[in-house]
């Protein structure tokens, strides 16, 4: 049986979608006094396969950082355009990541060089050049009753 070896010490950290979703749920239960719903408009969803996950990150030194997630939501993928809402966010600056987990394995798959092999996008449609964009490029100001950001998935 052929052995598929990976040089795992070199692979970029895998971002577990399940872990991010769990963090999001516990954040939502906290119910802050002033709460904003963030609408995320997602375009260029390639297929109906698997699920799309939105995670809203507070500012950190290493965006995107799974330990700084303020809210998350996931839904079955729908080809074309989708709109997901992350509810009850406290006022502040956030960066949004979106992944299309087409094979539904709970992971954003990446190759041996750490380049994602599934679709992804960032708030403000900030581009990623061989690495995630800087927090300042993705930052969305969240305040008042509602906020929104739009992005295209890149595959």
């Amino acid at each position: 049986m052929p052995a598929h070896t990976r040089n795992s010490s070199r692979a970029a950290p895998r971002i577990s979608l399940v872990a991010l979703a769990a963090l999001g749920l516990s954040a939502i239960m906290a119910q802050p006094a002033q709460a904003t719903d963030l609408t995320v408009e997602i375009a260029n969803v390639r297929s109906d396969a698997g699920r799309v996950l939105v995670a809203v990150h507070k500012e950190s030194a290493h965006f995107p950082d799974a330990s700084h997630v303020a809210g998350a939501v996931r839904a079955s993928a729908r080809s074309g355009a989708m709109q997901l809402v992350v509810e009850n966010l406290a006022p502040g600056r956030y960066g949004v990541t979106v992944f299309h987990d087409e094979n539904d394995n709970g992971e954003l798959d990446a190759n041996l060089l750490g380049i994602p092999t599934e679709g992804y996008g960032f708030s403000n449609d900030a581009p990623a050049t061989f690495g995630p964009p800087k927090f300042t490029d993705v930052a969305v100001e969240i305040a008042g009753a509602a906020a929104a950001t739009a992005l295209n998935l890149v595959y």
Partner: protein
Amino acid sequence: MQNRREVLASAAAAACLPAIRPLPAEAAADRVREAFEAALRRDSRWLGWRGTDTDQLAGTTRIEGRMPEGLRGVLYRNGPAVHDRFGLRYHHWFEGDGMVQAFRLDDGGVTHRGRVVQTPKLRRERAAGKRLAGGFATPIADAPVLAQPDALNSASISVLDHHGELLALWEGGSASRLERATLDWSGFKDWGGGTAGLPFTAHPKVAPDGSLWAFGYNLFPRPALVLYHIAADGTLVKAAVVDPGPLGMVHDFVLTRAHMVLVIPPYVFEHRDGGLILDDHVWRPELGTRVLVVARDDFADRRWYQLPPGFGFHHGNGWEEADGTIRFDHCVAPNPAQLRDGMRQLMRGEMVHQTQERYTRFVLRPGGSAGVEEVGSVAEFPRVADSRIGHRNRFVYLLGAQDGSWWFDRILKQDLDRGTQDAHHYPSSQIPEEHVFVPRPGAQAEDDGWLLGPVLDHRAGVTGLEVLDARRVSDGPLAVAWLDYPLPLGFHGWFSPA
């Protein structure tokens, strides 16, 4: 043949890359097409670099001479072909979108089908009506930021037919799957095991046991080499990522019985924000050429060797002696002027650069020393009998040139045992492409077979598929199957026997 002293004495001077004054971006974009079209009006030789306006070609041929019995199958070839489209002529020969040619040889004669590879890059550009993927050598205003290499993939350098799968090869990104009958693009090839989207060379090697060996180079954000071992049944056996030290483009490698040999020239990618990939390559002869030798059965088993600085694209073959001494060949020049300057001049219709690549043999000794063993004539596009890959070969077939000439005007058969050379010189009306060796079915002798490759008759404006007897190269072609249209000059190909 030059002697060693002459080689070493001229090496230092020749390694210096002549300074160039880059044209301002705006002026350069206008001048390239204008200069090229003026050159083509004056001299029909430039027809080979005009490129194609049409995405599909098909035709029958008129055969001059007699096609040999037993030569049946399809010759696939690839090369950058869409040089000028959407209002822009690319500045460098490497940038054009690939066009795969299929010459079918059967009892009815020779027929041709050609198809520009409909990559995601080309489809996005067609939808936008302009070039979008910049980054190699042509500045493109407002080019979108590229997330990963396959966004730029033009699938343009070669073709591989392995385990029933036809692949167009690029080198900066994935191989592409092609439909055999239509040559339609049907997706990037994922070999599995975490290799999706990784760079895959245009010069993989199929060993006599059918196993497939390849590598890829990654420049940004960190240099890396990827190694692939794929079984004869097309499944990935293993892949590994290697930290290569200073790295730039690496086009080809050598497979021996027990090792992969990667020759890394000191043309190093040093990224600057907003820089073009080729312009960000810096010639660092003080590093010398570094050679990575990896064991085929264990990619963690690696040695490094040091050679004098040089730049080359291609290897014919290499082999190992019983004591572990490795010998391999390389068409190598003292500096990368051909890549940096020559291939840009061709796009402008200039004949300034002189081809300097010489067919050279190198030796890597078990004790760790390495060096040049023999320097031959100016030559490129080496091919050997596939049955000899990784084992000592007696013959190598190449395109040759008059010293000081800007392109190739002869086909050479080098006898490495006797040190002799057999040549066929083309008339000035013809420009040859790489010829591949095809063995005669049932042949035993290494050179019992044919050389097969396109020739462009630039005066008549037509391309033909030429066949020579590999045992009698100086007799000239046995046959040429002429199309009634020209094809862009291509790079590399693969013969699939019927």
